[in-house]
């Protein structure tokens, strides 16, 4: 597949690894923001190939992992209403709420459907005028324009039976929360390539400046990630800190204007509770006043008690890179993918799940 396969070229990967090894003289801790980047590092076995001096910490860039327990409960509440069809992305279904997950609610009879795109939910609303269709609008800035577009489109079709349950989270505030923490150990960031495709890279300059931290906007394929790591380590070795764009084939400095306009048409920035981290002010999107008829929270007057997170889950410390999954007393014992205590073990990109599969690779004898 063009623009995909070339970035998986094994020879190029070997060359990049060699170069990283050649220039690294001190231990450095890097965080890749995005869950998709974590997934790629793990599934391609790249973590193994990096020199021991480089530690990759998996960031909170997994909207699945950071969706709070309360929001899952809201989604389940909606799904259990008569005449409601709740539509969701697949990876949300296994995240535990305070009592159950969406998958369990589905097994109990709730009409929950997995869709690839929010635009398909609008189609569903059109063909089911007697039902209320709610789309569980989760994601980082990458997914926000598509979710916003679904609302605009539903509006232009005159649909009164479509709404979204918004749980969007924004990357820059999360990075600030991590870097601002006294116990922060991250030396450099690989910023999320597709988030920046939408939002551009201007938001990252002040962060890099304030915390004297290299930020490299990076793609997702092995060659992208290794180039991103190389660029970050080069800066660290030289004592530099600036924003660089590895993923220039998709990311322009100003981002995608149409996408940003669509987001601002429908959403307003709001506070957001991040699972395991807590409330980060101005770190999420909520449907604005103009489009309140498409805001499921307003439409269904949702008023369910705020749920508390599982106290045993240390996901906050893990997602900030302060602790490794192995340092959690429940890791691999009480908390496993098949019975997770928190979201980072549920999502395949969650730090704990990735570690669960990768950690056993520490015992892996090289063939």
């Amino acid at each position: 597949m063009k623009f995909l396969t070339e970035y998986r070229d094994p020879e190029m990967v070997v060359q990049y690894v060699k170069e990283i090894k050649a220039i690294t003289t001190k231990p450095w801790t890097l965080m890749e923001i995005c869950g998709g980047q974590t997934h790629s590092l793990v599934k391609n076995g790249i973590l193994d190939m990096l020199p021991k001096f480089i530690t990759m910490v998996h960031g909170p860039g997994c909207p699945v992992c950071v969706t709070s327990v309360s929001v899952i409960d809201e989604a389940i509440y909606l799904a259990e209403q008569p005449h409601v069809i709740l539509c969701s992305f697949g990876d949300m279904l296994r995240v535990p709420g305070s009592k159950k997950s969406l998958l369990e609610a589905k097994a109990e009879g709730a009409d929950i459907r997995i869709l690839y795109s929010p635009l398909e939910a609008v189609q569903l609303a059109k063909t089911n005028p007697d039902k209320q269709v709610v789309f569980f609008a989760v994601g980082f800035e990458t997914t926000a324009p598509a979710n916003a577009l679904s609302v605009v489109h539903a509006g232009s079709l005159g649909l009164s039976n479509y709404s979204i349950l918004a749980s969007h989270v924004l990357v820059p505030p999360a990075m600030e929360a991590i870097l601002g923490d006294d116990e922060n150990t991250i030396d450099a960031f690989l910023a999320a390539g597709h988030v920046c495709t939408i939002m551009g890279i201007d938001e990252y300059y002040p962060i890099s400046e304030k915390y004297k931290c290299p930020i490299v906007v990076t793609g997702f394929e092995p060659v992208d990630l290794l180039q991103g790591i190389l660029m970050a380590v080069q800066q660290l070795e030289k004592g530099e800190y600036k924003v660089e764009n590895q993923y220039a084939r998709s990311v322009q400095r100003e981002g995608n204007k149409m996408a940003q306009d669509t987001i601002h048409k429908v959403f307003t920035i709001s506070d957001r509770v991040w699972r395991g981290i807590g409330n980060i002010p101005q770190s999420g999107y909520e449907v604005n006043e103009e489009y309140k008829l498409f805001n499921a929270r307003v439409k269904f007057n949702i008023n369910i008690p705020l749920a508390e997170e599982n106290k045993e889950c240390i996901s906050g410390a893990i997602m900030k890179g302060l602790k490794k999954p192995k340092e959690c007393p429940n890791f691999g014992i009480k908390c496993k993918p098949e019975h997770p205590l928190g979201a980072p073990m549920v999502s395949s990109e969650g730090a704990c799940a990735a570690y669960y599969h990768y950690a056993s690779a520490d015992e892996m004898v090289v063939e």
Binding site: P145, R249, S250
Partner: protein, 85 residues
């Protein structure tokens, strides 16, 4: 973040209203209808990055090649730096 993969725009299929320009995009061996609202500049044969059924950018083919030149350029730069020692 997020899963977005590149595909080739092979046809414009509809222009229903301002929010709805759609096209057929080919990803390796499969095709899918994709919303083109956010890439008004996209034309046939362009490669688009598609996330949840919506195109989010047009792949810049020139920039794409640069990733492969990067190491080579580095090598040249290092050679140039040697004489200062």
């Amino acid at each position: 973040m997020c899963l977005a993969i590149p595909g080739k725009l092979i046809a414009i299929t509809a222009q229903l209203d301002e929010t709805f320009r759609t096209g057929k995009v080919s990803f390796g061996g499969i095709q899918k209808e994709v919303n083109l609202f956010m890439v008004p500049e996209a034309k046939i044969d362009d490669y688009l990055l598609v996330h949840v059924g919506v195109a989010i950018s047009v792949v810049d083919e020139e920039e794409a090649k640069l990733t492969f030149k990067y190491l080579k350029d580095m090598g040249e730069v290092e050679e140039l730096e040697l004489p200062t020692n």
